[in-house]
């Protein structure tokens, strides 16, 4: 546990010292939301469309962060030092925890900005919260693993997103199914609402599964 916390501290310090990564992701997410808000300014957004657009923002702000997890370690030559000094589980959990915290923070900022700029309300905040929690779990689990896989390849930064985005397809389906109802899409009786809740919890389940299986895969990827 101490090693995990030390790893988390190290990630935090690295990000703060070279804040370029965080700024890039923030600017990217804000620009994405503003572009969508400007494009839909004269239209009344429906829950279905809004859920899809919000997911585009969440996905691409997460994709910007992928290269920073492990690719930076390989480029700065610190990966070898980590392999020598830190147990592999601690490396994985430290990186994932930071990634999760970052995704939660960005999701909160992106969704607040999105709701403010598009003047949308959230009729079902509970479902919205479950959907966002599941999204953050799934996004952070998948992107951490894909970043570790891509770290040793030739065209790292491009490949990391190429690997992660297709794996996130089920997450996108579940996410949109939950968020569309949370954002007020037409609900045709209690069955649709139940399905939306199931999609929300399915997303949380997928996220937990991807995080739980992550250390096993990571051990294979990390070993030399």
């Amino acid at each position: 546990m101490r090693a995990v916390l030390a790893m988390l501290r190290k990630e935090w310090r690295t990000e703060i010292r070279a804040a370029a990564g965080l700024f890039t992701a923030a600017v990217f997410a804000a620009t994405c939301v503003m572009a969508i808000a400007a494009a839909t300014f004269t239209t009344d957004l429906r829950g279905d469309t809004a859920a899809g657009l919000l997911w585009v923002c969440l996905l691409f702000s997460a994709a910007v962060g992928i290269p920073r997890r492990f690719l930076g370690e390989e480029e700065s030559g610190t990966a070898l030092l980590l392999r020598l000094m830190v147990p592999e589980e601690a490396v994985y959990w430290g990186k994932w925890l930071f990634s999760f915290a970052e995704t939660v923070a960005f999701s909160a900022i992106v969704s607040t900005l999105f709701l403010l700029l598009t003047s949308m309300s959230v009729p079902n905040p509970g479902l919205f919260g479950v959907g966002m929690l599941g999204s953050a779990l799934s996004l952070s689990g998948t992107t951490t693993l894909c970043s570790a896989i891509a770290a040793e390849s030739k065209n790292r930064s491009g490949l990391a997103a190429t690997l992660a985005l297709p794996l996130l397809v089920p997450v996108i389906f579940f996410g949109i199914a939950a968020l569309r109802v949370a954002l007020g899409a037409e609900v045709l009786g209690p069955r649709t609402l139940d399905e939306a809740w199931r999609a929300g919890w399915g997303l949380v389940g997928y996220g937990i599964a991807s995080v739980a299986i992550g250390p096993t895969f990571f051990a294979i990827v990390w070993k030399r």
Binding site: L145, L159, T162, L163, V169, P170, F217, V221
Partner: protein, 264 residues
Amino acid sequence: METVNRLVIGLLGALMAVGTAATFMVSDAPKFQAPELARIVFWHLPCALVGSFLWLAGQVCAVGYLHTKEARWDQRSISAMEVGTLFGVLAMVTGILFSKVQWGAWWNWDPRQSSYLMVLLIVSAYFALRASVDEPGRRASLSGVYAVASLVPVLFLTFIYPKLKVVQTLHPNVIQGGELTFDPQYRVVFYAMLLLILGLGISLVNLRFRTLRLESALDIQDAELANRDHSAAPRVVRPLSLSPTDQSAASAIGEAFGATDHPR
């Protein structure tokens, strides 16, 4: 072994010709816009099923590699993934062709079409990863992990998503209560074509696997030769023994280009 392989491929070719002829002997399907063109189902559906089966087989072989670290499991995995992709692309192409005839557009964003395209994207990402790592051991491990990690999305997109009640597809539901809804005549030909295409797929995987084994054996031989000479530079020419036909072809090249010795 070589004779058996040739016999199997010859037999498959002959059966495939018979199967193709049989697809034209069944009556037209009157429910479709172009009843005579509905026969494409005998190619489209088996290609889609065999493609998915081979991808899953490739992912299972990747688990085998991660468990044993034996190169042959990785070779089996990549062989199945490559041949699976070939069948996946064929299913896509035949689907697009029939989509234009039946639904009036090349692409309809039908959930089944889209989910199959996404599976193809996942497989493409797998190939992109393999192409980006040079060292064979690392390539096998990293792509093995990616193949296993993509198992859940592939299963979801292939079997779960198209069957969800909220998903409305233009594709006819051909399996109801575990039974094919085809007319009996179509059913027989369909099963025959499915078996033949599966057989073709497996024999292609086997052929690709043997090619990979040979390539790997040649690489090992090259490395041994380079070590024996205590030279940092690997040999460029492989010491292949030439068959009499190859020798005569080689001497013809030698004569044509004015060389005095046969190239070896």
